[in-house]
């Protein structure tokens, strides 16, 4: 902790209220569109635009203040603590979906087939039902889309695992370069990371196309499809956000921002990217591999 004889308190800002309006519009519009509200989708998109405007405006202001030397070590540390615990909250968000996955595999599916003291559940509800994982045939198949197969772990998913792991390495390579002041290497490292991220997303899209187009593996395919798309979908969303943040960081590096001592923005995005990486490993193991 540095000396604190001078504190930094930022001036007031309109960005938070703009963000709140955007958030309310986006979510309210979404809810309305779900129930056939005519304006719903429009309001949702408007809300999203407002949020983007807010994010870039707010972050732009922070970057500007930072570059003009307003911040001190204490502010930097507050940002770090904030980012670290924000990532922890994201971990818990994914934990809820992983929890659902484990619960379905370990409990609800076997129980529905009569395991443990649930003999009558099996006999009375859906006597034909057999517990297997991945669950292709759900207890009441006529109400759902029964997939032909699920995505195989050692095809696109394994490739995607390699891509993400490699992107973690290239990002760390860029990080080292930042410490050593090799700006070219930072730029190449970031570009490689972004390219790998984009490639990952492309393959993910191809995988979804395969699921929806050929395998009939959909969100409506019972609990397997539900957990599959919820987990990989939110993960993909996070990769998308991470990639956008990496692009912002790359542009800042090109403009000459960051040095060995001051690079919170860089580091925050790097943490985020590694977190997304780790979540993917969990996904690869539990969603694709150990089935």
């Amino acid at each position: 902790m540095q000396s604190k004889d001078q504190y930094y308190v930022p001036e007031g800002s309109y960005w938070p209220i703009v963000g709140s309006v955007g958030m309310a519009a986006m979510l309210g519009g979404f809810a309305s569109s779900l129930h056939g509200g005519i304006m719903g989708t429009g309001i949702m998109i408007l809300g999203l635009v407002i949020i983007l405007f807010m994010v870039f405006g707010w972050m732009g202001q922070v970057v500007h203040e930072s570059e003009s030397g307003l911040y001190n070590k204490q502010v930097d540390k507050s940002f770090r603590i904030g980012m670290a615990w924000f990532i922890f909250s994201e971990v818990m968000f994914f934990a809820a979906f992983f929890g659902a996955l484990f619960y379905a595999r370990e409990f609800s599916v076997p129980w529905l087939a009569g395991e443990g003291n649930n003999m009558w559940t099996g006999k009375l509800l859906w006597p034909e039902f057999k517990a297997v994982w991945p669950l292709i045939e759900m207890p009441k198949p006529e109400a759902f889309v029964v997939p032909k197969a699920v995505i195989h772990a050692w095809e696109i998913p394994a490739l995607n695992t390699m891509l993400l792991l490699a992107s973690g390495a290239t990002l760390t390579w860029a990080h080292w370069a930042l410490y050593n002041g090799k700006r070219d290497q930072i730029i190449y490292g970031l570009m490689a990371t972004i390219a790998l991220g984009v490639l990952f997303l492309g393959l993910q899209v191809a995988e979804y196309a395969e699921g929806y187009g050929h395998l009939d593996l959909k969100m409506t395919s019972g609990i397997y499809g539900s957990t599959f798309y919820m987990l990989t979908g939110f993960h993909g969303l996070h990769v998308t956000l991470g990639t956008i943040m990496l692009i912002c960081i790359l542009m800042r590096v090109i403009r000459g921002h960051f040095d060995a001592d001051n690079h919170f923005g860089f580091e925050a995005v790097a943490w985020y990217w590694h977190f997304v990486d780790v979540v993917w490993l969990g996904l690869f193991i539990y969603v694709y591999w150990f089935v």
Partner: protein
């Protein structure tokens, strides 16, 4: 995303613009503000508004239950009332009120100029009115508002719920987002803005309990977000998380909900423990008894609160081994809770006690919260819970811990710190009346519910058998009286701010300790511009003698 300058000298040149002026004039002050006190007051007023709205709903409930039979409202509307009442009180009143107190108090108690992330602090607050409005708007939509109880169990909230439920889901998302940002801010403030002379074990208990609560929030709220997200997709996109026909399980919803829900009840009580631990030493004129055991007890409660959730689900058909585990874990959690109660009592033991208004509320808290804790113990025992579950006994339990617990501590805290905030003393005569009025009526309201529950009256039902009539009548009368007491509270607070007797002493309560009492009264707009010294911190520690 930002970098920082290497040397701190760099930031000296701008201090004239940020530090030394007062608030900006006009309404925009409140919209743009990055000042922790401004934001704290906004939180408190918002919470009070929501308390009145949620309270009005409770009045509807008690009016309907005044007599057997259906008098005033349709059963469907009654269910909307119980649902909205619970949601608004939990997410709109109690939680924001505690965050408000944290905002105003924590920087002053750790010797900081402000919260660590002031702009984000503003956003945490300004999400709330939008989320609250979205939640309330569901009541006016086609098909009515959510009517499935504040615990929104599937499939009531998925297959059988009105369209407005999707607005409810997004309101919960927004409230959760706000809470997480608020919690991150508190963690960063305690870790990073604390005066360097204040070690962790020098921190006042209100700071400690909130610090620990913030971790609970960060761990629990995202799980709630996950739960409502799964509800959203089950309702609209054909997933089957909570649908057995697709291999999911409605009981899974309960597991996920209560994995959030039980920590949530501690989120609402740990800061209360903190407030009471500040007030009692002041008016007992003794250092807090067992400071470090208080800290460890708070930590243990927080950890244990994640492993007891299924005591809300004893009747869902879980295996006996599960019931046994959750029963013992639940009973275990009452040990650290008991430690706290004994510490408060020991602090008062042989103290030179005086009973100023905040102290009266704190003592009432200790007694009434203990009653709620004891009924909790009863509920934690599986064979007993088979009888009590989903009856008015549960309603009695959680209102003792939440109303005469959490809410009373908030009122105690407001009475304790209000003179410091506005430099004026409230009308003590009126406040005494308010205290007795509220304490008596709250017991008239909730105590009979124990008997109703033991006799088997189910909760969340608008009508009941004749045998329950007398106690319901008493409870309703207590309810109306208790509801009215909040109008008196509003009057007392407004009257204090406007016409209260001016207080000049920095130490408003003569034997109060803590850095907040070294600041001038009324508290200046910007809190500490210079870090308080270690000597001052030690001198102001409310637990010296015990820990030093």
């Amino acid at each position: 995303m930002a970098t920082t300058t290497t040397d701190i000298d760099a930031d000296t040149h701008h201090d004239h613009e940020d530090h030394h002026h007062g608030p900006e004039p006009g309404l925009m002050r409140w919209v743009k503000t990055t000042n922790h006190k401004d934001i704290g007051y906004l939180y408190l007023w918002f919470a009070f508004g929501m308390l009145l709205i949620g309270g009005a709903m409770a009045m509807v409930i008690r009016a309907e239950l005044f007599m057997p039979g259906l008098q005033f409202v349709e059963p469907q509307f009654f269910n909307q009332m119980t649902t909205m009442h619970g949601l608004i009180m939990v997410f709109g009143a109690i939680m924001p009120a505690f965050v408000g107190l944290a905002n105003i108090q924590i920087p002053t108690m750790v010797g900081a100029p402000d919260m660590a992330l002031p702009r984000m602090n503003n956003w945490s607050f300004w999400i709330l009115p939008f989320a609250g409005a979205m939640l309330l708007s569901t009541m006016f939509m086609e098909g009515g508002g959510p009517a499935f109880g504040w615990t929104f169990y599937a499939p009531l909230s998925t297959t059988f719920a009105p369209d407005s439920t999707d607005y409810f889901i997004f309101a919960i998302h927004m409230l959760g987002f706000s809470s997480i940002m608020g919690a991150i801010n508190i963690i960063a403030t305690v870790m990073n803005m604390r005066a360097s002379g204040m070690k962790l074990m020098d921190m006042p208990l209100f700071v400690w309990t909130w610090f620990i609560t913030a971790f609970l929030l960060i761990a629990a709220m995202p799980v709630l977000a996950g739960a409502v997200t799964m509800m959203l997709t089950d309702r609209n996109f054909g997933t089957s998380f909570f649908d057995a026909a697709g291999g999911g399980d409605p009981v899974m919803f309960q597991h996920i909900f209560w994995f959030f829900g039980h920590p949530e009840v501690y989120i609402m009580i740990l800061p209360a423990f903190g407030i009471v631990s500040q007030i009692i030493p002041t008016f007992a004129r003794k250092p807090l008894f067992g400071y470090s055991s208080m800290v460890y007890a708070t930590g243990s409660i927080a950890i244990l609160s994640f492993v007891v959730w299924a005591h809300h689900m004893f009747l869902t058909g879980m295996p006996v081994a599960g019931q046994m585990y959750f029963m013992y874990a639940t009973i275990l959690i009452s040990v650290p809770t008991g430690v706290k109660v004994f510490n408060w009592v020991s602090t008062m033991w042989r103290g030179s006690m005086s009973f100023e208004i905040p102290m009266m509320w704190a003592v009432a808290f200790v007694i009434l919260f203990t009653i709620g804790g004891l009924s909790g113990l009863m509920l934690g025992i599986v064979p007993a819970d088979i009888q009590y579950h989903d009856t008015y006994f549960v309603v009695a339990h959680f209102h003792y811990v939440l109303v005469s617990g959490a809410l009373f501590s908030i009122i105690a805290g407001v009475y304790y710190w209000l003179p410091k905030w506005c430099g004026r003393m409230f009308n003590e005569k009126l406040a005494t009346i308010h205290f007795w009025w509220a304490v008596i009526s709250v017991n008239v309201l909730f105590f009979p519910m124990h008997f109703l529950g033991l006799a088997g009256m189910p909760r969340r039902i608008p009508d009941y058998g004749l045998q329950f009539a007398d106690f319901n009548l008493i409870a309703s009368l207590g309810g109306f009286a208790f509801g009215l007491s909040f109008l008196l509270l509003a009057y007392i607070v407004v009257d204090c701010i406007r016409n209260g007797k001016v207080v000049k002493e920095a130490r408003v309560w003569e034997s109060a300790k803590g850095l907040e009492w070294t600041l001038p009264t009324p508290a200046p707009y910007h809190t500490f511009n210079e870090e308080p010294s270690r000597e001052l911190i030690l001198k102001e520690s409310s637990h010296t003698g015990d820990n030093h």
